[in-house]
Every structure is written in C-alpha cells, then in structure tokens.
C-alpha cells in the first residue's frame, strides 16, 4: 500500500515536472513528496484510530492511578502514561500542580512530563514509517528509560524541597483522599466526536512541522554527499555526541519536525546514537518548556533538571553509538 506514495512522487516529479531522478533537485523533490504524502496519510488514519481507543483516558484518571503507588511502579507507570496520555505541553504546569497536590512524588510527575514530549502517536507513526519498527522500539525504550531514571534521580536529590513555595506547600498538605476515581463510559458517537476533534487539533498543529522536517530532510538527502557524516562525525569522534546534544537545545522543535531529519541523518551515515541524542535534546530540552517550569520550580532545580537531561542524552548517544552497529546489523 505504501508503494502508492512512491508512484505518486514518481508521477509528479519525473513525468509531470519532467525532472530527472539523477539530478539533486529531482532527487530531493521526489523524497519530499513521497515522505510528506505518506506521513500525512498515516497520521490521519493513526491519530483517529488511537484517539478512538483512548477517548476515555484523561489526566484525571492517570492521577488516580498514580496516587499511592509504590515508588518503583510509580516511575514506570508515570513514564508509560506520559507516553500514552493525550496531553498538550501547555498543560504542564496545571498537571504538575494537580499531581503534586495529590501527594504524587515530584519524581513520578517528572517521569510523566519527561516522557510525554518524547513519545506520542505522531512520533511513533513517523518513526515506524521512516526508520522501521526496530528503531521505533529502541526509541520507545530509551524514551521510557529517560523518564524513569530522571524521575528516580529527582526524588533521590529531594526535588520537592526545590519547588516554588506554594507548590512545595501543596505537596506537604496533599490530600490523597480528595482524589476520587471516576470512570467515564463513552458511547461510540462520543468516541467518534473525540477522535475527530483530536485529529483536527493534532493535525492542524503538526502539519507544518512535517513539511519543515521533511523539507530539511530532503535537503540533506539531496545535497549532503553520501557518507559525509560517517567521515566527519562518525564513531571515532566521541565529542560529536555532546556537540549534537548542545546543538539540539536552542533548536526547539517537537518530535514531528525532527524525526524526518533523523531519517536523513541516519541514511547519510550519522551514527545512530548521535542521531538519537540530537533528536531527544531538540524535543525534550527546550527553553520555552523550562521557562514554563520556572512557575513551579526554583532556579536550582531547573538547572539540575537541565544538566540531568544533557547528561542523559549524551549517555544515550554514547551507548547507542557503541551498540548501534550490532543492532542495525542484526
């Protein structure tokens, strides 16, 4: 079925516009059209289907699940829910306060918030269609792990003492009893309505990122010589990973924009670990997010969180550069 997008691009670029596949422009345009049409089609289908399934899930039910859970289960579930719950980063602060005032440890809440931007249905659709299921599984495992480990670390250093006073007070005075469990039963019509809203909402938010991301990817694809990255930023250069992480910070994007770029970087020979590190740093460590978190955290905690992310992504990069060859060959 996915062949039809290649055929569409063939027809448009080679037949209709008369460009040759051997020119850089023709090659880049073909790549761009094939990828954007394929991604748009997959997104429409997947966002709708996933929304239909998870219509009854919301942050309130996640909170009631997490309240009073043991620490270990808490981090894992926090991170997992961060991946699957429909959630807009503009709600980060209310969610943080809602969880905190229910007595959920800061680390578990942060497991949720760290994983949330990294893994979502759009990211998975893109990864699966562009880089294959093996890479997608690796990406998911790394994303969940970053959330779990980040959460454990923040609780170990007692992050709750470094919150803004009103948030710290809310945690201390937390009332678990106040959180009631409510189950929503939805009819199929309600689920359809929700899924339709989600589709419109998410698609209208991400389509431009897909264009930008695939456009950049296409430019890389058409104009960077084969193997350039492997020669200049390959396995041997240990510093290329922290450099990629550093480069990712001022570049603020969501997963949608970065993943098409990742595909091009990898096919051009950038090591898998360096690529992952760059992508995760672009998506999860961004200044706008940090400015938001300032409302509930003191500078000290923000600085620690920032360093933690940089360190985690660098480590991810080094580890996967080490085992990447093995994984992709297997």
């Amino acid at each position: 079925m996915l062949d039809s997008f290649t055929l569409l691009a063939d027809w448009l670029v080679y037949d209709l516009w008369g460009l040759s596949a051997s020119t850089k422009l023709g090659d880049a345009l073909h790549f761009f059209i094939e990828d954007t049409t394929k991604i748009f089609a997959l997104l429409v289908v997947m966002i709708y289907l996933i929304a239909l399934l998870r219509a009854s899930m919301n942050v309130e039910s996640v909170r009631s699940w997490l309240v009073g859970k043991s620490r270990f289960v808490g981090y894992l579930m926090g991170s997992f829910f961060g991946a699957v719950t429909p959630f807009c980063s503009c709600s980060s602060i209310p969610l943080f306060l809602g969880f905190t005032s229910a007595g959920i440890p800061v680390g578990i809440t942060m497991s949720f918030l760290l994983t949330s931007p990294l893994i979502n249905e759009v990211a998975i659709v893109l990864l699966g269609s562009l880089l294959g299921w093996k890479f997608t599984l690796i990406y998911i495992a790394v994303g969940i792990s970053v959330g779990v480990i980040g959460g454990i670390f923040l609780d170990l250093i007692k992050a709750e003492k470094m919150l803004q006073p009103f948030a710290a007070k809310a945690y201390i005075e937390a009332k678990q009893a106040a959180v009631k469990r409510e189950r929503r039963r939805l009819s199929l019509a309600q689920r359809h309505q929700f899924a339709k809203d989600e589709l419109v909402d998410i698609f209208s938010r991400v389509w431009k990122w897909v264009i930008v991301g695939v456009g950049l990817g296409a430019a890389l694809h058409g104009f960077v010589p084969e193997g350039w990255f492997a020669q200049n930023l390959g396995q041997g250069q240990w510093w290329s990973v922290p450099a990629a992480v550093g480069l990712g910070i001022p570049l603020y994007s969501n997963a949608t924009g970065v993943i098409p770029v990742m595909e091009s970087l990898i096919t051009k020979g950038l090591p898998i670990g360096t690529t992952l590190a760059f992508c995760m740093s672009t998506v999860a460590a961004s200044f706008p997010e940090f400015i938001l978190l300032k409302q509930v955290m003191q500078w000290k905690l923000l600085a620690i969180l920032f360093c933690l992310l940089l360190f985690a992504f660098t480590l991810v990069g080094w580890i996967f550069n080490g085992v990447g060859l093995f994984l992709l060959a297997a």
Partner: protein, 86 residues
C-alpha cells in the same frame, strides 16, 4: 431574554495564555453576545489559582465559580447550554 435585575455572569478561562485559551475566551465572548447574555470573560493565568479549581488540563472554563469544562476548546453546543442555564 435577560431577566430584569439578574447579575452579570462571570466567566473565567483558566490557562497559561496559550492559543487555545485565547480562542476559548474569544468563543465565549462571541457566543454570549450572540445569545444576548451579559458576561464578563476573565483570563486566569495564575498557576496557584488554576490549582485551586482542581484543574489539570487547560483551557478550562469556570462560570460563576463553577467548573464546567476542562482540557479543550469547548464546542459551540456546550457553550450555548452553559449560557442558557443557571
């Protein structure tokens, strides 16, 4: 439509000032004007105040201190129902 002497409805839109919150406030103002209901729409961005309403996903809508909606831009039909009742 408005009964004599009835107080003006106070509608608060809770949220961090993101585009969705702006849109929500705009919809509420517009639909209230269409329905001829006298309202004051206030944007509440203070995180502590939002926490006070127990809201975890924004934009949320509070009418006369009653939380009626959270997590998305409300639908037209819902808004009309809120404006008609109470």
């Amino acid at each position: 439509m408005i009964e004599e002497g009835r107080d003006m409805k106070i509608i608060k839109v809770l949220g961090s000032g993101c585009t969705k919150c702006e849109k929500t406030a705009e919809i509420l103002t517009r639909l209230a004007a269409e329905a001829g209901v006298d309202v004051t729409v206030i944007k509440e961005t203070d995180p502590a105040a939002i926490m006070g309403y127990g809201v975890m996903s924004t934009p949320a809508v509070v009418i006369d201190e009653q939380l009626v909606h959270s997590g998305s831009i409300p639908h037209r039909a819902d808004v009309e129902a809120w404006l008609a009742s109470a």
